[in-house]
């Protein structure tokens, strides 16, 4: 893989509202190469809203998001080229097979030079399911199809909303190992979860929402 400059994501005084309710405000943190941030908080504390705001799917109500020191709106294509987002919705077409789904993801985002969709599906434990319509897969298997993207994309920043949901014990281990490897390569990960996850690299930094938390 080519040598890529290290990127930074910086959040300054970020605040979001939902309806009339203030979810969080004055949030500050910075994420650099090889760092993991775990966002915690009760249901409804704004974790998903924060993650969608970080991706640029939602405009922040106050504050700024800086990518390599530039406001997000000004570096959209460069930022998107380095971003993989997996949200609540798996973002796969149930009428397409896992292989066809990954071909679309590969068209929309930058893939690794050695990207191999079959190997990625094998890595997430979907060997033998490549050519079945995703409609016939279980919720956990569909989530695995979405997660197979992580093995294909050549992106630095992963934003994962509840990635461990619907996964079995082996799946959780597989994803934790995948995140470890990404971080070891200098990647950045922001994720939310309610489960206790053990990473090889130790306990990640955490940001607690709803308690005026700071990372």
């Amino acid at each position: 893989m080519s040598v890529v400059p290290n990127h930074t994501l910086r959040i300054q005084g970020l605040g979001c509202e939902r309806g009339d309710r203030r979810l969080f405000s004055a949030l500050d943190f910075q994420l650099g190469a090889g760092e993991v941030l775990r966002v915690e908080g009760a249901n409804g504390s704004g974790k998903t809203t924060l993650l969608r705001t970080l991706c640029g799917l939602r405009r922040p109500d106050e504050g700024e998001i800086l990518w390599d020191g530039e406001p997000l709106a000004r570096v959209r294509p460069e930022f998107n080229a380095e971003l993989t987002y997996i949200g609540h919705l798996p973002g796969i077409k149930v009428d397409l097979t896992p292989l066809e789904n990954l071909a679309v993801d590969g068209a929309l985002h930058r893939t690794r030079p050695d990207a191999d969709a079959m190997a990625a599906l094998d890595a997430v434990g979907l060997f033998g399911f490549e050519d079945l319509p995703a409609r016939t897969l279980s919720a956990g298997q569909r989530r695995r199809v979405a997660l197979a993207r992580l093995f294909l994309m050549d992106t630095r920043l992963w934003v994962l909303d509840e990635p461990f949901t619907a996964l079995d014990v082996r799946g959780v281990e597989m994803l934790a190992a995948c995140i470890d490897e990404h971080v070891a390569r200098g990647g950045m990960v922001i994720f939310t979860t309610h489960q206790a996850i053990r990473f090889g690299s130790g306990e990640p930094r955490s940001l607690v929402l709803g308690a005026e938390g700071r990372a």
């Binding site: 919705l89 009428d95 929309l108 985002h109």
Partner: protein, 224 residues
């Protein structure tokens, strides 16, 4: 990956999805056929009367049939999260949505054009009107898909948007309807019909350049 390859793969995806749902593709076509055939049944079956109203009837039916198929453009993508992935792509979103609209036109607009000679016969339109009907539909239906896509993009986040979508989009279809029906009527009367056709061409050029930007912007708002 270059933009040509991206376009090719996205178009392939959309056509593949349409093919997997091929049962639904015929619905707007059957609707088109039924609406047009209601007129000879409800009015006097006088061939001269049918020939007079034929151009307008076929065009109105084409508008309504297009309306029926619009929701399929972005709603499924919104509901399964693939729209989020599309919006977070580093490629120009306007181009990606244009591919989506083109795929919609291929499966929903083009069949209407192919079916229209049959309806022209049903409405007793003279043979001279047929080239005008085909040409005006060929230039007009892409405008219907493009303008309709703006409406869908604006209403995709609302749960029950069917009526609202019609109220938003149908008024915007009026210019296409006027010039489309005019071209066919003029041709049937043996008059030159290039004027109205050029107007539809201008509308198409306008929609082709501006609608993708409007669709991309509307989708961004809908996702917030």
């Amino acid at each position: 990956m270059n933009l040509f390859e991206v376009t090719r793969r996205m178009l392939r995806r959309d056509l593949l999805l349409a093919y997997r749902h091929r049962g639904e593709l015929a619905n707007p076509l059957v609707f088109f056929l039924i609406v047009v055939s209601l007129f000879p049944l409800s009015l006097e079956p006088d061939p001269r009367l049918l020939a007079t109203i034929g151009s307008g009837v076929i065009w109105v039916a084409a508008l309504l049939a297009t309306m029926l198929s619009l929701d399929a453009m972005f709603r499924p993508d919104f509901e399964d999260g693939t729209l989020e992935q599309l919006m977070l792509s580093p490629h120009p979103v306007a181009l990606l949505v244009l591919v989506r609209v083109f795929a919609h036109w291929l499966v929903a607009g083009l069949p209407l054009i192919l079916l229209s000679p049959l309806l022209a016969m049903l409405m007793n339109l003279p043979g001279e009107a047929l080239p005008a009907l085909l040409a005006s539909l060929a230039l007009g239906t892409p405008v219907l898909s493009l303008v309709g896509a703006i409406g869908v993009a604006l209403t995709v986040a609302l749960r029950r948007s069917g009526v609202l979508l019609s109220l938003l989009v149908l008024p915007l279809y009026i210019p296409v309807l006027i010039f489309g029906a005019r071209a066919v009527t003029d041709a049937a009367a043996g008059l030159p019909w290039s004027g109205p056709l050029l107007f539809i061409g201008a509308l198409l050029a306008l929609a082709l350049t501006l609608a993708p930007l409007a669709i991309a912007g509307a989708l961004r708002i809908s996702l917030e």
